[in-house]
Symmetry: D2
Subunit: 153 residues, 4 copies
């Protein structure tokens, strides 16, 4: 059991370290909210720097945290020494992104050796509560050795 807990801590540290190197997440003000095997959440507080022309969350900002949350969910199930790159994703914007923050919850639909299929649901946070889902993302992820770090395609 200790071994398993150590493995989880090691994986969490690996993902936190990778997240810290994603300059885009820092620039947007996104925070890694939780990391569990197969489930990663990223929180993005609202600011002028993530808005579109009407003052809502920009679809691109929502897609960015959803893509990262789904990708890290996939990576959390891969062995150490691997990296994950998005091959493609599709996102539906379900309602305008209006709130204090959005939280993207990534999960894994199908884990494969080379390709994984992941999802993220994005929720609106108001007054400290997740109130409504505002987006849903479906993603294909390539899992490959970190020293390759690029699609083999």
């Amino acid at each position: 059991m200790t071994g398993e807990r150590d493995d989880i801590h090691e994986m969490q540290a690996r993902i936190a370290e990778s997240f810290a190197r994603q300059g885009l997440m820092g620039r947007l003000g996104a925070e890694l909210a939780s990391v569990r095997p197969g489930e990663v959440s990223i929180r993005l507080p609202f600011s002028g720097g993530v808005s579109q022309q009407h003052g809502y969350f920009h679809a691109g900002a929502i897609a960015s945290v959803a893509d990262s949350a789904a990708g890290y969910a996939g990576l959390s199930l891969a062995p150490a020494g691997m990296t994950a790159l998005a091959v493609e994703f599709k996102i539906n914007l379900l309602r305008p992104g209006v709130g204090d923050a959005v939280v993207a919850r990534g999960s894994v639909l199908r884990q494969g050796r080379q390709l994984s299929v992941c999802q993220a649901s994005v929720w609106i946070e108001e007054g400290g509560e997740l109130t409504k889902q505002c987006a849903q993302l479906q993603q294909t992820l390539m899992i490959l050795p970190a020293d390759e770090g690029r699609p083999a395609g």
Copy 2:
């Protein structure tokens, strides 16, 4: 002819003004590169603030400018007083985003009264030249009166 040229200038001014209000574009450092009826380009220079963990352009940053370029291409064909909101989009990352900048070129596949289908191809810029395509986006856009500013769905 003067009337048509005036209309184009008015449309270009409208889109420039809307782009300036997209806080995300400013935060990422994106620039409106060209606006013609049905074709809008956005350029995103590389910086630490748009990167992923390996120092490439983050898929979310690429998707953000592609989504905006496609959306403004769609809006450029709509009458004054309308706005455009992305209902959904899908993007394929064709190769790692490594270069001085990326340029997203939005275009319109099918213009409708309420829904338009738009595309964006994203190109890598190196040494002032567009060298290779790195992403392709396909988007459904809702066109609605600007004072509604939200999906009627």
Copy 3:
């Protein structure tokens, strides 16, 4: 309560009647398996007429029943007199479609007045049991009066 049950029966009859008019479903050998408010399942037994080159279920056959199941899930929540048309969908094939049948389970992620976002998970049936998920679909649906019967876009 009787009124509600009557409404459900009326809705089920409406969807069964519409399904019977989908010539493609008959041609493929697909059956309407269950209809509840917001949840519709379609079963497709394997046959040579739904196969691809290796003798598995063709992605197009899987997509066809997934698209119909998601669309009818969306329609099941709309008032009588309305119809549903797919605006777009995206499907991930999670593993080869090998089995006695596939069952597509449609559901509704976000019900809107004009646009709904629906999903379908497709499962492999072997020996009378649903064993593994083989596909996941995400769809945008337009809800409109049946006498229009075509996208207003």
Copy 4:
């Protein structure tokens, strides 16, 4: 030059043979219309067996020929002995599919060793002419040895 022409004939024969084994294409009444390196067209005449509830082409029938056309376009650039499987695709229905036939034209956006990104545009045929585009598909394809014949993911 003869060698190149022989290679093309061999590739065309390979694809025609694979198409003939896709039972779904025969069941729908689809025909392989043209095969060139990187470009494959499939024609689907209208019939009751490819319709939806209003008597138009079913989105699933359109998606089926678009998926096959895109997949064979990708396969046409791969060496002999390889096969192609769709990992995922996304399709926008641009207008109702009403006409004598639809023609899906597959092409290749990005050819990779393991993954290719392909597209298909689907056109309405009326009176022997292709009149309007009715759908656009974007697809991720896995290229693998034919004796594996299944996603390695």
